[in-house]
Symmetry: C2
Subunit: 302 residues, 2 copies
């Protein structure tokens, strides 16, 4: 069986019945499973995590987008998080037995249906982008819903699929294949957030650090410590262990202890295999050496 | 679905057709899968790794024992490895959704069938042992096939199930529930095997080290290095990372580098989760945070 994951973002984080109605759309599709969903009141935004067979995941996502279009009107929406659509962004992540190219075909299929059946303009981003300008989601999103009617008619911003007019209530949507994103936070035993900021600048791509790392310093006031808050956008190329070792070295340089860390949400087995291989100095180790990986192989073939 | 693993050992490592016939018995049983099997000529012994639904694994093992009884005659058997039966030992390991106590019921079921239907005496060992004396497999096996007719009538050595007489050609068999065993070897950049021996004595239970660790030094002549060869008999209590850290500290003490390591065969996901949690200093991490673990949950419920 082929597996993809998707974590669509919807511009509704306050009306629970709306988010539940959207999630319900995914639950009704065979071979699709909702692993998690959460709402954020301040951001007025919700995130759903689903996995399943690629074609079925596309079907589930399409129904969710249609439901979000019915129930969310961006003309009456405000929140802290920048957004441009009722369904704002739909990442597709290849999990097992599928590569980027094949996953991208499903992204295109989904985009085409959204554009033609719902008249919502679609932009492809990341690995699905049609040009370098569109790889970065924040560049697509710039201007947000309110500014998009002016942006969509500008040179270079014609949608990849769909009308060159923003949907009046549902805006536009971004769809794209990307790598699994790991949110990895490292806590430092100091109240000085500037140290976390300095370390962030050493490890993040933007400031000259690891290519697939985004990072910033945050004060965790209640705990009286600070955090290097990290997004690992490709853990296969910029690895958890190298980032951790670098943060630890830099923390030493400032005489500050690493007091703990956390991985938010789910992690692929490969990240654990890579970390174990590195720290135990294993030769010749990979995910196929893990018993649960074998069990998954067995059940997939049943 | 409940999962157990078994790695039965058979006293045949030279006649491939015999081992294949035994393995074939397992392949014919529904909900049982053979992950691996291997023969050792010098030891004249083979090991099969199978996983599956507990009741079905018992059925498969029973058929393998019966086939081994038909095809192996210990009166004509010699090899380096000590042995007492055509099927020598049958470990049962709980993998998923089953605890030791329930797994032990299956071990008892299997033992009873072997004793009553095949008239082979059965000894339960490790977590299935009926007395402290029988926990250690090497104590049960002592005397081997040739000495067992004298041993079986001695006080304290009455079989747990079956006749008080060794089966003329198939001997006796040990059955027991045990923890997953990880074979973990750490290589040192020296030709001095005495250093590997000294480090082994620090980490192994027998010499005062970690309770669930067996270890010895070995010279890897072709590679010009030495190895601390380790059996981790309970990685949940004596952990890979603590053993590795201790070996590394001791190697430093002798001015010798750790040049690599290996895990032989398969490893449970939990060992990777524990190692990752330790080295990345993660708070609040366990196997349920791994995406493949979720996928396995999903398919098990289908």
């Amino acid at each position: 069986m082929k597996w993809v994951e998707s974590v669509p973002n919807f511009s509704e984080g306050r009306r629970k019945e709306v988010v539940e109605a959207i999630v319900q759309m995914a639950r009704e599709v065979e071979k699709v499973w909702v692993l998690d969903w959460s709402m954020d009141h301040d951001h007025n935004r919700s995130v759903v995590t689903l996995v399943g067979e690629p074609g079925q995941v596309v079907e589930a996502l399409f129904r969710m987008v249609r439901k979000a279009m019915e129930l969310i009107d961006l003309r009456n929406h405000s929140g802290e998080h920048p957004r441009m659509g009722a369904t704002d962004v739909i990442p597709l992540i290849p999990l097992r037995n599928i590569d980027y190219a094949e996953c991208d075909q499903y992204a295109k299929q989904l985009g085409e249906r959204i554009a033609s059946e719902l008249s919502i303009p679609v932009y492809f981003y990341e690995k699905s982008a049609s040009s370098v300008d569109r790889m970065d989601l924040s560049k697509i999103r710039k201007g947000e819903f309110e500014g998009f009617s002016a942006k969509i008619v500008k040179p270079g911003w014609k949608p990849d699929f769909g009308p060159s007019a923003v949907h009046p209530s549902a805006g536009v949507v971004a769809v794209g294949v990307r790598e699994f994103l790991i949110a990895f936070n490292i806590n430092l035993g100091t109240q000085n957030v500037e140290i976390a900021n300095k370390i962030s600048r050493v490890i993040r791509n933007r400031s000259g650090g690891f290519r697939y790392v985004k990072a910033m310093g945050i004060a965790l006031k209640e705990k009286g410590i600070v955090q290097v808050s990290i997004n690992m956008t490709n853990f296969k190329k910029s690895s958890l262990h190298h980032v951790f070792e670098m943060v630890q070295l830099e923390a030493q340089r400032y005489g500050v202890p690493v007091v703990g860390s956390e991985i938010v949400g789910l992690t692929p087995l490969q990240a654990l295999a890579n970390t174990t291989e590195y720290f135990l100095r294993l030769d010749d180790f990979d995910t196929s050496r893990v018993i649960e990986y074998k069990l998954l192989d067995i059940l997939e073939k049943e």
